[in-house]
């Protein structure tokens, strides 16, 4: 796998030509700048013709698998189709060529869609207010934890230092709570995979700031006692945080605000179809109940006398969590998606996402153990724990690659042994689902009869199975340049 640095041509002459030639000599530059401030050693960046560079990255792109290549059933990640309309909208020069410090009168178009998206997201959540500032799901979680902290600080309840988390929670939840300075207490799940209400009640005391829940949870199971859970949390004077990673399960049909959420984060890159970009940029807007509204990050987008403006006056705010106003061009895509779908489309999203997941679950449970065999929402979790011939979930995942299919999320949630977490999303048609089932059935058969096919997989990917232990043990994180003479 060669990198750009392996391509370096023998010519040392800078190609140039992208911008006009500078006019000043080195001496003229040096006359204006202390020599100690000027770069001494030349950058080791190859100077290549544009065509060589474009070919290199085109080649790299072909080594990737994206949603446009096929089904991407990565549980909890909602890898739905990313509409092309939204991509072109986000590239309109009128939206991209706008500086964040420009006067509000010169950015009315952008402020309008940000304000409208804010309003629509609040309605989707069934909550009082929304900030668009957080730029990722985990960033939304962190912002939510900051809001919890500010809320209790403003009430003088500084002894509320604990956050309760179900053991099925995604790892970012405890990490976000910890970065915001909270202690984490884990709550066990019961036999049906949902929160153990008695265990929760036992922990709820005056040291608890709140609970972080994923609804439906990471097993794809809806917390049927959700109203009892949030009622118990509120009775104890604590707050309820809902991780919105799984909103695709009920968007257009139910709202976290109606379930008792005080803070809820959206993942625009999941539920609202904005692309994942190989790991960002995403967007993690946060919705809050009325009592937390005054603590939202600044600035807020407001409308005064028919004009949109940025309002910095919020003395009880947590401050800012981003340089400016969040991932505006991601928000543009999400807003376009909402405008196109409307209410009817949103309902179709959850309907078909849940139908697809239950269909896959019903068909796949014949081939792989399904530890929680019940109605699922947008995703479900199989176990590779009973694979024959000492095979593991990882082997199944790698074999899927040979059949041209992206593997599901594996080894998560932690409460299922050898977990395979499968989320088809609503944009896969039945033919794609059926093909996925056929391939999984074939792999189950191979596991029994031809285990080496799994062990040696993948054989059709650009590389064979990669040694992740080696990468961890002796890290090589940058191109090893030959020692300078």
């Amino acid at each position: 796998m060669s990198t750009l640095f392996d391509l370096a041509s023998s010519t040392r002459e800078p190609a140039g030509g992208v911008v006009p030639r500078p006019r000043w000599t080195d001496e003229e530059v040096a006359a204006r700048l202390d020599g100690r401030l000027l770069r001494r050693r030349a950058l080791r960046l190859p100077n290549l013709p544009e065509g060589t560079v474009v070919r290199h990255y085109t080649r790299l792109s072909k080594l990737n698998y994206g949603v446009d290549d096929g089904i991407y059933p990565l549980g909890s990640c909602t890898m739905k189709y990313n509409p092309k309309l939204n991509e072109d909208i986000a590239r309109l020069p009128g939206l991209t060529q706008v500086h964040p410090l420009a006067d509000a009168s010169l950015v009315q178009g952008t402020l309008e869609f940000l304000a409208e998206l804010t309003r629509l997201l609040a309605r989707i959540a069934g909550m009082a207010d929304v900030t668009l500032q957080p730029v990722a799901g985990a960033h939304g979680e962190l912002t939510g934890m900051f809001l919890f902290k500010k809320y209790f600080e403003s009430r003088g309840e500084t002894k509320r230092v604990r956050i309760l988390l179900p053991d099925s929670a995604h790892g970012t939840n405890p990490a976000s709570a910890a970065v915001a300075g909270f202690e984490v207490t884990e709550i066990p799940s019961n036999a049906s995979g949902t929160v153990d209400l008695a265990a929760l009640r036992a922990e709820l005391d005056a040291s608890v700031a709140g609970i972080m829940l994923t609804v439906p949870n990471t097993l794809g199971i809806f917390e049927e006692s959700i109203l009892d859970i949030t009622a118990a949390v509120h009775e104890a004077g604590a707050l309820a945080y809902f991780d919105g990673a799984n909103l695709n399960a009920y968007i257009g049909r139910a709202r976290p605000g109606d379930m008792g959420a005080d803070v809820f984060h959206f993942n625009l890159h999941k539920t609202l179809s904005t692309p994942h970009g190989g790991g960002g940029p995403g967007a993690g807007p946060v919705a809050v109940s009325a009592q937390l509204s005054e603590h939202l990050p600044v600035p807020r987008i407001v409308r005064r006398e028919g004009k949109y403006a940025l309002d910095w006056e919020a003395p009880a705010s947590i401050g800012s969590v981003h340089s400016f106003y969040g991932n505006v061009l991601v928000a543009a895509r999400a807003y376009a998606y909402l405008l196109h779908l409307g209410d009817e489309g949103l309902r179709a999203v959850s309907e078909n996402a849940v139908l697809n997941a239950n269909y896959l679950q019903a068909r796949l449970k014949n081939s792989f153990p399904l530890p929680y065999d019940r109605l699922c929402k947008h995703e479900f979790v199989l176990s590779g724990g009973e694979l024959p011939n000492h095979l593991s979930t990882l082997d199944v995942a790698k074999r899927l690659i040979d059949y041209g299919i992206h593997p599901p999320t594996v080894y998560f949630p932690l409460i299922v042994r050898e977990a395979m977490m499968i989320e088809p999303t609503e944009t896969e048609d039945r033919a794609a689902l059926d093909r996925f089932v056929e391939v999984m059935e074939t792999i189950a058969r191979e596991a029994r009869d031809e285990p080496d096919r799994l062990r040696e997989a993948p054989i059709k990917a650009p590389v064979r199975r990669l040694d992740q232990t080696l990468a961890a043990r002796s890290p090589v994180l940058t191109h090893p340049f030959p020692e300078e003479a």
């Binding site: 964040p100 990722a136 970065v179 940029p281 340089s323 998560f412 940058t478």
Partner: protein
């Protein structure tokens, strides 16, 4: 709905397989009270044509997009070679997820590895992560890391740090219980580093700083004792300037927007994070590393994951997972297209044009509140007051910050101007005429 291909006949067949009677029955596990409280958002749904034209109108309502930008402060109006958008438009890159399955993510992972190499080259550091959300969160995470390692619970911060960075830093430090001590700047616009507070986990400085002034980093590290030297940088300027790593910085962070990203009203942006090898186990964010596959061929994978939250949960070094991968790819392609020679040219052009304008303005009687060296951004005091000058510039189609923006730094009656390679001679002549009068 165009994005879902499904008719009611097929839905019925699938429901049969599931063993439920209706679509509604799929949601029978949601409490009835919750379902009955549901209210729609009141949107009818529009065709693609209507949505596109609606957005075209919104885009036209942004006067800033057709104005001539003189704005800086972390985000700059740089030219992006056309090839960058073409590479980024490949959906194999933008529709992929985080590379959890490295065998079918070699494109993303190889580019991450190249990006890390380039960030190290630019900053003069040993290791870099595969990106953070933006320059502000990168800085906040750097301070959290320094405090995790040093543990003083206090950090010293230059008062010439840009407001967007400072606001986010304040929020993170408040939550983490870290005290922030101010370090003032002097008449040159440079931070007074002669006497720095003791017993701090880090000293944070930005160069060029919020006033556009380049900070003399020489010798600062020696005066810091145990504290980390954390420098926030402007990566494009490093095509011309000596990198912070050469002055002993422990962590170099920065806003990477200047490397091939549009201004986009401030997002998405690109956080850069680079440090010394010895802190590898302490850094936040994803890292790509080189490894071998089962046949002995070189490939790339995510490395040092034992720091991350899916393994370490509440003991993780950070909660960040999704970052700015596609923006990092943009920066990588940008630097690949320009090469070392092209980047040096762009950086020098910025320097030249900004100095050209400043020297013209000085000749025409404008004054400068700070006399420290600068790169492409400076604070100027127009002859007849900032308010009037701002009004003239705006009327002539320039996009420029109001003078009140500088009161955060204790500066009155002055304008901050950023001049990039995109500003033409003719534009600079007009700026000079509007600020200094035609001499």
């Amino acid at each position: 709905m165009r994005y879902i291909q499904r008719d009611s006949m097929e839905q019925r067949k699938m429901l049969e397989t599931v063993g439920v009677a209706s679509l509604d029955a799929l949601f029978s596990d949601i409490p009835r009270e919750v379902l009955s409280r549901f209210e729609p958002i009141g949107l009818p749904g529009r065709s693609e044509l209507e949505v596109f034209e609606h957005f075209s109108r919104l885009a036209e309502a942004n006067g800033a997009a057709t104005g001539v930008s003189l704005l800086g402060g972390g985000v700059y109006d740089h030219y992006v070679p056309r090839a960058v958008a073409h590479v980024l438009g490949r959906s194999e890159f933008y529709t992929a997820y985080t590379p959890y399955q490295p065998e079918i993510s070699q494109g993303t992972l190889t580019a991450m590895f190249e990006f890390q190499t380039m960030v190290c080259e630019l900053t003069g550091m040993e290791i870099a992560n595969a990106s953070m959300y933006d320059g502000a969160t990168a800085l906040a995470e750097a301070v959290l890391m320094a405090n995790r390692i040093r543990g003083y619970g206090r950090v010293a911060v230059s008062q010439a740090l840009g407001a967007p960075l400072r606001r986010v830093l304040d929020t993170y430090c408040w939550a983490a219980g870290i005290e922030v001590l101010d370090v003032p700047f002097g008449e040159s616009g440079q931070t007074r580093t002669e006497s720095l507070p003791a017993d701090v986990s880090a000293f944070v400085i930005q160069s060029p700083n919020a006033l556009g002034v380049l900070e003399p980093l020489n010798g600062v590290k020696d005066r810091l004792g145990q504290a980390f030297l954390v420098v926030s940088t402007y990566p494009l300027a490093l095509g011309l300037l000596e990198p912070p790593g050469s002055f002993g910085a422990d962590v170099v962070v920065g806003e990477g927007q200047s490397l091939g990203l549009p201004m986009g009203f401030g997002g998405p942006l690109l956080g850069l994070f680079a440090t010394r090898k010895e802190y590898l186990r302490q850094i936040p964010g994803r890292v790509a590393g080189r490894t071998l596959d089962a046949s002995g061929a070189v490939g790339y994978t995510m490395a040092a994951q034992t720091r991350e939250q899916h393994i370490r949960r509440e003991r993780a070094t950070s909660n960040i997972c999704t970052n700015s991968a596609l923006c990092a790819l943009a920066a990588t392609v940008y630097l690949a297209i320009l090469g070392s020679g092209g980047l040096r040219q762009v950086a020098q052009l910025n320097f030249e044009r900004a100095h050209d304008l400043a020297e013209t303005l000085a000749r025409r009687g404008c004054t400068f509140p700070f006399d420290g060296p600068f790169f492409n951004e400076f604070v100027v005091r127009p002859k007849d007051g900032a308010g009037a000058a701002h009004a003239r510039l705006t009327a002539a189609g320039f996009v420029v910050e109001a003078s009140q923006a500088l009161t955060a730094y204790g500066v009155n009656d002055a304008l901050r101007l950023a001049i990039t390679e995109r500003r033409t001679d003719e534009e600079l002549r007009r700026v000079a005429d509007l600020l200094g009068g035609t001499s």
